[in-house]
Symmetry: D3
Subunit: 231 residues, 6 copies
């Protein structure tokens, strides 16, 4: 089943948001990770709101996201959906037999390998219930120490310091053993936090690349029986 | 955090059993998967029973397993424990800050990404309760369709046919959407079963390599706070 | 808080599918239930596939569904989403402070009041995983005896007889104490099944009307803090 | 199945306590809710303690409660048990095929429709474990943000202010999105709290009336197979 | 805390049913177990139905059961409630600081010490939902392999053979590792079944005596804070 | 099945640690509890670390622990493993058909009989995740109010005062109704804490003796089918 790839496999990373800056940052970090082993194509979902925050935002983002996957399906070997809500992940898994990984599912599952309980740190308290729902969907509710987001208005601190405080609280008060950054915007902070607090800090994009690269090399994709089956 | 590796990273795969044939098969498949990207060293736990079946077997295997990891710690970048019971995985995670992955945890978590419910197929009905315990430890009890092992004495069939029958039953009766081969001895059957039944079939060694390769490249290891902490 | 309604309240029932026949049937049954107490407006989601079956169908149905709710928001006092998958229910709840009820959530919760365990009977085996997911979302996984759908091709029986057989099996084999018809197309069968098997059989549209009527009269709607909050 | 009621249906509300004042208040609120649509008969359980607080109180209340239901069974179309402990609800459901709803089950299930997590506020800290048990019985333990009761002796505040403080804490500290008043004595406070805090606040009696009215109109009652079966 | 008992402690076993024959059998077995170490007083609840089967039966049994415990409280050191439904166990625990053990809770918890999953065998299929509820109350739903009761009318077999068949099915089909006899009437069968099937078989009365004897000797009783507190 | 023991049964208590002082203390308390009813032999695991704290310590302790049980199997009627981690309990249960009880499982299960929720107090915060894992293994995660360990450096208090403070916090803040001392070193404190706080406090050794004495007298041991089976 393990296949020899004469040319490097191609991974399509879909940024479900329409913010081009974010796409650029994701692409940069992804290529830094994959080096020459894989080709990474990272696309912006131009039909979406700039930042997906609500259920309505997710619904708005869906049609063009679907279009993006359809356009690139033939020329891609696997897919990463790069928003921590894993929006429409089931729909994309239904569309193709190739591997599709959400950055939410990838980072949450990886965190639970590194320590017994982990915390998710996100940028907006309003997103907490959506993350909770997702964590329950992935059967990880008992592996979570806490989901945290800084309250607005702690203004005398720099942004990094604010997230450092949350990470410290997750570690000291909530007994987290690992931390997941639950927002693409926080990408790149993991090294600083990890160095200061001493716990592993994970970014979802990189974790999704572990899995999608592995599955492509192994030659295994989404199950096409029952849930994600097609005609 | 993403580090450039000038030389390929080295992964130590520990076969907790003392069967040398099994080590050879694991090594072969692992190298087939990693190609030149990684150096794979695959060692036999000579102090163990030939095949670990019981709790006593696991305990017997522990001291020499620990010794193996200690011997190779400095020269390895990550570790795979290649028995589906994940024996002493917590102990090994406690020993080192480098990534350590069990083939049980790796394959079970990967399966739950590919479909909604998966079945584990193993070679001995007596091992079922130990697998159940492990699945519950990883919070995956609600993602499992069934754990199956052929009853002894269905002798008119070849070995492959026997496991094919179990896989079919998992798919048709238990509504499994993916299958995990829960025994190193079954490694290599996945392609045939996948082709015949049409559902993804996973071998634990390959799944563990996904994760350990990713974590090494990312520069992240087991959390050293609380559970797996050391002095 | 209990308010006097000088004129009957108006309930908008959205059929998320584009099948007009189904809308008509839903409207008929709803008005039979509400009589003169409430005004029922039942609309077809013309932008959707004829019958929502897959995740892609749901995503396709979303934009026009949203438009329908927006158009009728001012002139409606409450909303019923009339597809058993409860598609985009979270999005609709986010859109308005008025009560919004899905026929899935309404029938599942009502069934668990009538007996200890209930079965869901639906028309397509492929939909079972989506229903399972929904049931888990509503915390009812331990209150479900089974989810059943007739396999295609049991052709010598009439349609009603086929569902009667499933209902009997739910009652006798799975120990169901109540039955939910998990598909708008089965609406109207409940009386015949109930009479023959002797267990309560629920249709989702009617159950959703219980709740939406009650909430309107009580003057209480969806919480606008946290999950379904808005700006 | 939907039946035309030439005369309004009659609902018997049983106050399991012997406090006549409480019966009067419940009756008043219930009639305010039902208006002329339904006849409400609200009876006091004179054989019970004044306020049911303990398991012994519940047991003492049972025989006369049973007698009340038996006396009124023929002339009632549905039953509401108006104590938040849902005392002997299983016994009453066993007694009759007509719908029987407890105010505990009704309000807890309704709250989980309005928001992701709700808090229960009650008047006595000692009752918290009994409520917890009940919530677990209804499979809602993961939908509860907290159960709160003011500690005795916060005396400088008025009663309403005390409960307002608890509701605020439920909302701000425990992330509740809806609130259930877990004590008949708190009935009537919901409007004030809802106005001040901005989250939906539910009283059990009204929620039970939603369901019992709906079930009567629909012609469906408690399942008489298995758990609540009779001879 | 460990107290020296100059005279043997006295245990009151309450048979919540009014069947005197059953009381005699329970008393006989209990004394066979305790020998001279303890004094066993075994009383019949004459105010109850002959055999408690329904919720109504339990409620009917409560007042005289309470009276029995009150009468004997001063002269008893601990209490066993000898019906597998554990009827009113919470009420009795509330009445006294001395140890009170139900035969349901005792046997279910003991079984889960002897093997990973156990089956409960009872005499009436209608009682299954009540046992299920109880098992969930004790957090043991995931430790149960099955709850079984022979269907009426398997008449060519003797009573013992009928239960032997159920025990075999529990062992072979449901993978039970231990068996609990969930009905006082089955007491005494455990030795025969155990000998024939080779799995441990437990009777609740004896298991309750383990615990109540231990707690009396240790000097520890029911917690009087919160749930079972009194004034 | 209830057997007459002409001579007192012999219980082997294994102290998995190599600290002889601890063995002496355990032996003393055990004999105080059993008096002349049972013979208690309490042995030190000389091959182990002085105090088992980590997974590595447990693994180191295993071979000699196994040897101890093997040496004494013929002359013992039952076994108690006297470390709160229940190290290698599954392995010991696999070794013999006689009853084997861990002090962790015994005390946790007994605590849940005495009150609705209990707290575990241990001596080292680092051990908390191991206890959590164990509690989940025994299905008791929802019966636990908290697991507490004093932070190092609260030095102005005596040792007893430190644990008293934790016990008070468990009772007042976490709503514990009973307390388990999760460390053999705390044995003997239970009386003082119980007297001061008024909640039952349990030591594991005594709780294990309840069960092992009962099972020996009843003639029932560990199930030898499936999980703990042998050849």
């Amino acid at each position: 089943m393990v296949s020899a790839h004469s040319r490097p496999a191609t991974i399509l990373i879909v940024n479900p948001n329409s913010d081009v800056q974010m796409t650029r940052a994701i692409r940069h970090r992804a290529r830094e990770y994959t080096g020459m082993r894989l080709r990474v194509r990272c696309v912006t979902n131009r039909g979406a709101p700039r930042f997906i925050e609500t259920y309505a935002d997710m619904a708005e983002a869906a049609p063009s996201m679907r279009q993006l996957v359809r356009t690139h399906e033939d020329t891609s070997d696997g897919f990463v959906i790069a928003c921590h809500y894993d929006p429409y992940l089931d729909m994309i898994k239904e569309m193709t037999p190739k591997p599709v990984i959400g950055i939410g599912e990838a980072s949450l599952r990886t965190a639970s390998v590194l320590g017994r309980r982990f915390s998710l740190i996100t940028n907006d308290p309003r997103s907490i219930p959506i993350h909770e729902e997702l964590i329950r969907k992935y059967h990880l509710q008992n592996a979570v120490a806490s989901i945290r987001a800084p309250e607005a208005g702690l203004s005398s601190l720099t942004e990094t310091e604010i997230y450092l405080e949350e990470a410290k609280a997750a570690f000291l008060n909530d007994r987290a053993e690992a931390i997941v950054l639950g927002c693409a915007g926080l990408s790149g902070m993991e090294e600083r936090i990890q160095r200061r607090i001493g716990v592993p800090v994970l970014d979802g994009v990189i974790c999704a690349l572990f899995l999608v690269e592995g599955l492509i090399r192994y030659g295994v994709g989404t199950s096409k029986v029952r849930r994600y089956g097609w005609d």
